[in-house]
């Protein structure tokens, strides 16, 4: 379990249209000292992100309205440092390929053990901190191009993998 300090620090957003699932998951994550907010569809998620950028987003793919892939695409375009973990009950390899291509940090099958999810969230947060720190350092020094490179680090990493 994490510390209180960590609870204040990590901001996560859980996005899933299964209300019972996402609310219970949120409670369990909060019991592990990580603050979690909930959005019940793609539109809510995008609105939330515009008001308060999370560090890590846990995102379902199949949702009515704007689906998870589109949410991922828009979030990574506007806020490349937000780490997105896909958590879906859909078993398509094509979806996983597409999500990773768009910069998803991880792709998990639903349901997942909460401790496994929390471990991945912490890992994603660590990466988010590293990217933001490096970007901030270079931005302060006026090296905006290098800062941008760090902001886009995940995207670049993903392209290299391909």
């Amino acid at each position: 379990m994490g510390s209180d300090k960590e609870k204040d620090k990590i901001k996560i957003l859980l996005v899933d249209d299964e209300q019972e699932f996402v609310n219970t998951l949120s409670e369990r994550i909060q019991m592990r000292e990580i603050g979690a907010n909930v959005a019940l569809n793609g539109e809510q998620a995008l609105e939330f992100v515009d008001n308060e950028v999370p560090d890590v987003m846990v995102l379902d793919l199949r949702m009515p309205g704007i689906d998870g892939i589109e949410v991922l695409r828009r979030v990574k375009k506007q806020y490349p440092n937000v780490q997105v973990i896909i958590l879906t009950g859909h078993g398509s390899e094509k979806d996983e390929e597409e999500a990773r291509r768009l910069g998803a940090f991880d792709y998990l099958q639903k349901p997942v053990e909460v401790d496994t999810l929390v471990t991945r969230i912490r890992k994603a947060y660590k990466q988010q901190i590293e990217s933001s720190f490096m970007a901030g350092t270079f931005a302060e020094a006026g090296e905006f191009d290098t800062a941008k490179k760090y902001m886009d680090k995940d995207k670049n990493k993903d392209k290299k993998k391909k």
Binding site: E18, L25, M31, G89, H90, S92, P111, V114
Partner: protein, 221 residues
């Protein structure tokens, strides 16, 4: 496979994949709700120890059955996507594992064990084929074995490379109550499923090879 059959299979595949997705959501809600109860009692245990123990036992059963349900649903979801493509590259180790998990009950009903065997370590065995027809060939082979074998025997299905190169699936029958090889192969070949297998393996451009000394046969591709 004719286009009409392909359309029908794709339709059933889509409906089934959609349904398994919904079942996964149900299982996920049960898992999280049970997990939350467990989290709460970890922080604040029940006042009487015997009730806490009963609670823990009951929770362990729920979790065990949940894992079973999740495993089956995950494999079934993948299976439901089988008709998505007329030709696909299959990882035969995964495919055989999945097939055994989904068909184990057919064997259990006849008191016959069914296991997926392991190929030599790190061997990648892949085959590009029609996934639906490949599953059908596996199933007809299993059904033939179940017709020819008595209770308290075992079937082990192992992907391997026959002669070091051709992807193959070995069906090996073991146990204390095995019939003599001659009788086994007579019954095997008399089974309706065996004729279906012959037809299917022809469509897949494969062949069946039997080892009449050892109650084994191979589907070779």
């Amino acid at each position: 496979m004719n286009p009409e059959t392909e359309k029908t299979l794709t339709f059933f595949g889509k409906m089934t994949a959609n349904l398994t997705h919904e079942v996964k959501n149900v299982l996920a809600i049960i898992q999280e709700s049970a997990g939350l109860m467990e989290d709460i009692t970890a922080i604040c245990p029940l006042t009487e120890k015997k009730y806490q123990e009963k609670f823990n036992r009951s929770m362990a059963t729920i979790k065990q059955q949940l894992h079973r349900g999740i495993d089956l649903t995950t494999q079934f979801n993948r299976f439901a996507h089988t008709p998505d493509r007329a030709s696909a590259e299959l990882n035969l180790v995964d495919t055989v594992g999945q097939f055994c998990l989904l068909t184990e009950r057919f064997a259990r009903l006849k008191h016959i064990g069914l296991t997926a065997g392991e190929p030599p370590a790190n061997e990648r065995i892949r085959l590009t084929t029609n996934p639906v027809q490949f599953y059908m060939a596996l199933f007809f082979s299993l059904e033939s074995c179940l017709t020819a074998l008595p209770a308290d025997t075992e079937i082990r299905i192992t992907p391997q490379k026959k002669g070091g190169k051709s992807p193959a699936i070995e069906y090996a029958c073991t146990g204390d109550h095995l019939p003599p090889a001659e009788e086994f192969f007579q019954q095997l070949q008399a089974a309706d499923a065996w004729s279906e297998l012959r037809e299917m393996i022809g469509q897949l451009q494969g062949e069946v090879e039997c080892d009449t000394n050892d109650l084994r046969f191979w589907l070779i591709f």
